[in-house]
């Protein structure tokens, strides 16, 4: 048997998960998230209070960072626990964007100063790349010396951000958000809104150049894809649990609807997908968090594309079934099922579709 890393939660994971869950219960009940989606601007007082609780009180924005980087000396494995909990609550804060995408990119580029700022949560980073595209250097941004110019559409987290990381094919650049023009877009997922980012020949800080910059983006792409699976797992868990609960109560034809075999079998199939998605997400997180030189660390590119090939479609499938099995109420604005549906679909497109990742995977494992 090949030695696999532990896929079980450690004791500290359980404490961490409980602390985050408690915070979410207090500051981000699902009705509050629903309400916040109607606000014209994202990241209002409610969401900011949640963000402050996570970054100031729990200090989880810098979990995978070294102490010298302002971090907690934990790993991406522990960050995955936070990401899963936030997924369960479909939380409308830029944790994934700043504490995963931007942080993994800054970490890979060795941008210690930026990492220290991001770890506090007082600065929020976003990566200037279309969210629904592979996480790759973008050619639509032009580089002129240390000045950048160009327009990138449908960027996630730009609206909440204070710092923009721009992955250009030749360099990784840092721009202050206040130096860019951010145009909000009505977004399919209103819990993670997207915006167009316009850079009108702006002075940028060069974080890395050439091959080093490309490798940093590649590492961040793998970590981000691996971690996104934990968010998808959280979405799927909540969607299935809430559907099961509803079908245990809802009566039609004089029977609890959940006693009909046709529905029970569908739920059993979803649960079977879920237990596999959980294992895939845990493996991806373990690989992202593994020490350099280990077999698990070496397997990260495979684990990341495996995760996005499997967990994205599973979360979408379960969120779709959640709407369907709730019947009429599931199609209403007041019921939260749609928040999970929209987030799941957007996540499946994010950082490369399942089909794109299958193609990557096929190259990695020689199919």
């Amino acid at each position: 048997m090949t030695e696999l890393p532990s896929l079980l939660p450690h004791e500290v994971d359980t404490d961490l998960r409980d602390a985050v869950a408690k915070l979410l219960e207090d500051r981000s009940p699902i009705d509050a998230v629903l309400h916040r989606c109607d606000a014209p601007e994202p990241f209002g007082d409610g969401a900011r209070a949640l963000w402050a609780g996570l970054t100031d009180d729990l200090g989880v924005a810098g979990l995978p960072l070294a102490e010298t980087e302002g971090g907690a000396e934990a790993t991406w494995r522990e960050t995955a626990v936070v990401v899963e909990a936030l997924g369960r609550a479909v939380a409308d804060i830029p944790f994934f964007i700043s504490a995963v995408m931007a942080t993994s990119l800054a970490q890979a580029a060795g941008a210690t100063g930026l990492l220290r700022d991001l770890a506090t949560g007082h600065e929020i980073g976003a990566v200037v790349t279309p969210f629904a595209a592979p996480f790759e250097p973008r050619a639509e941004v032009g580089l002129h010396g240390s000045r950048v110019a160009g327009r990138v559409s449908a960027v996630a987290g730009a609206l909440e951000s204070t710092q923009l990381l721009v992955p250009h094919p030749d360099a990784l650049l840092l721009v202050r958000t206040t130096d860019a023009t951010i145009t909000p877009l009505p977004s399919l997922d209103m819990t993670r809104r997207v915006a167009d980012v316009e850079l009108a020949t702006v002075e940028a800080v060069v974080l890395a150049e050439g091959r080093e910059a490309q490798q940093a983006v590649q590492r961040a792409a793998h970590v981000s894809a691996a971690m996104l699976a934990s968010e998808q797992l959280g979405l799927a868990e909540y969607s299935l649990e809430s559907t099961v609960q509803y079908l245990q109560q809802r009566r039609q034809f004089g029977r609890v609807v959940g006693s009909f075999q046709a529905l029970k079998h569908r739920l059993a199939d979803l649960w079977t997908l879920l237990i596999q998605a959980r294992a895939v997400a845990r493996y991806a997180a373990a690989c992202a968090g593994a020490e350099e030189g280990t077999a698990a660390a070496h397997d990260l590119p495979v684990a990341a594309s495996l995760a996005q090939s499997y967990c994205g479609p599973v979360a979408v499938k379960i969120a779709e079934e959640c709407v369907q099995l709730h019947g009429g109420i599931g199609f209403t604005w007041e019921h939260p099922a749609h928040l999970y549906l929209k987030r799941a679909k957007v996540d499946a497109l994010a950082l490369g579709s399942a089909a794109w990742h299958r193609r990557e995977l096929a190259k990695q494992v020689d199919l």
């Binding site: 048997m1 896929l7 099961v244 079998h265 596999q276 294992a279 895939v280 199919l367």
Partner: protein
């Protein structure tokens, strides 16, 4: 713990020194291994074990294998080792255990299971084969089906109805029956692969001593639960490495044929992904069990295994291309269960159809998940609280 393992290792080495495998007759070697408590070390002392935790068993088996010792050919007695033995351990008398367990473990006596009937498949508690008390014996009549190994078995586990006037679960009784008894007729059951892996067993006035009853009269369903719980354990396999298991043939054939059929790449990749997801889920489940907190994943893993095995074996034919139309052998024969058969992909396409039927259908697995894991209510039952004889058949 370390001391106990060292002590066990020393015992194995002493045994091997006293019974050099190369110079010892196979049956004598295996009997001696049983007597030394080194057969299944988690079993009680005197019944082939040393009352140890079963986690040390792999190390013992590995030490014997490394010394070139003969094994007990577990594949030729799967029902005996996996299901009969734990049932006997829980329900038989000590005297019966001492009679039945040694030759069961050595493989000198093979066991089978007379449970399913043409009219009782997923609804096993509906069995209709009857047993009528006659002095110190019971007289059994009926037909059993899907009996693996009946043709090589010396003993069988038998579930029969002793009281048709009470609801179905209450009227059942469990026996051990000697397959050499007069009135037992074993007939090969040919399956859609062409071979005959299973049997039909006809029981015509077969006399079974009351002393071979396990559990009380009417308590057969409880005893059956012991057997079936162990079936699930026996079916949930171990965790292999990447690209082994149900996708192994597909992937290796794909690497040879991909230049001819590039259009199948995404289909192959999808199953590679599914296989890896199932492998990781099995590993997670095994890790939880190792930590002492086994989860409820077993039914889901069996369900996913059947789906993956069927999809993979099917796609292997697509990858194979024109040669897929050739079948290797339709002659009716008994498969050799001790080695995996070397057959064409078409055979595996057909054989994997059974994966979602045998050992509990995928539909039964879904019911188990929905009711026992997700806590959904059972379907209303029309056969509840009525005598078995009055259930429409």
């Amino acid at each position: 713990m370390i001391d106990a393992e060292a002590e066990l290792g020393r015992r194995v080495q002493e045994f091997l020194a006293a019974h050099p495998p190369a110079q010892t007759d196979r049956d004598r070697f295996l009997r001696a291994r049983f007597e030394a408590g080194l057969a299944w070390v988690d079993y009680p002392v005197g019944l082939g074990g040393l009352d140890l935790d079963n986690s040390v068993q792999p190390a013992v088996d590995a030490a014997f294998a490394a010394a070139g010792a003969p094994d007990n050919k577990p594949q030729s007695n799967v029902i005996g080792l996996g299901m009969a033995a734990p049932t006997l351990l829980q329900w038989a008398t000590r005297e019966q255990q001492e009679r039945w367990l040694p030759p069961l473990w050595t493989g000198e006596e093979v066991w089978c299971q007379l449970f399913s009937e043409p009219g009782a498949g997923s609804d096993l508690a509906a069995v209709g084969a009857s047993a009528r008390r006659d002095g110190e014996d019971w007289v059994v009549n009926g037909q059993k089906v899907w009996t693996s190994l009946a043709h090589t078995s010396r003993w069988a586990l038998l579930l029969v109805r002793t009281d048709p006037t009470v609801p179905k679960h209450q009227g059942l009784t469990y026996f051990v029956v000697d397959m050499q008894s007069p009135g037992i007729d074993v007939r090969a059951l040919r399956q859609l692969t062409g071979e005959a892996e299973f049997n039909e067993v006809y029981l015509d006035d077969v006399r079974v001593p009351d002393a071979q009853r396990l559990g009380a009269v009417g308590e057969g369903w409880r005893v059956t639960q012991t057997t079936l719980m162990n079936e699930r354990v026996a079916i949930g396999g171990s965790v292999g490495s990447r690209e082994t298991g149900p996708v192994a043939d597909l992937i290796s054939m794909w690497r040879e044929a991909r230049a001819d059929r590039p259009e199948l790449l995404d289909d192959v990749t999808r199953l590679w992904v599914d296989a890896e997801a199932l492998r990781l889920a099995s590993a997670l489940s095994a890790q939880a069990a190792e930590r002492g907190t086994p989860g409820p994943e077993g039914s889901g893993l069996k369900l996913a295994f059947a789906q993956l095995a069927q999809a993979s074996s099917s796609l292997t034919l697509d990858v194979q291309g024109p040669q897929a139309l050739r079948y290797d052998d339709w002659t009716e024969h008994r498969p050799d269960l001790t080695t995996p058969p070397d057959r064409v992909p078409g055979y595996w396409y057909l054989r994997t159809r059974a994966n979602s039927i045998e050992g509990g259908t995928s539909e039964v697995m879904r019911n188990i998940i929905a009711e026992r894991v997700l806590g959904l209510p059972a379907e209303p039952r029309v056969d509840k609280d009525i005598a078995w004889k009055d259930i429409p058949k």
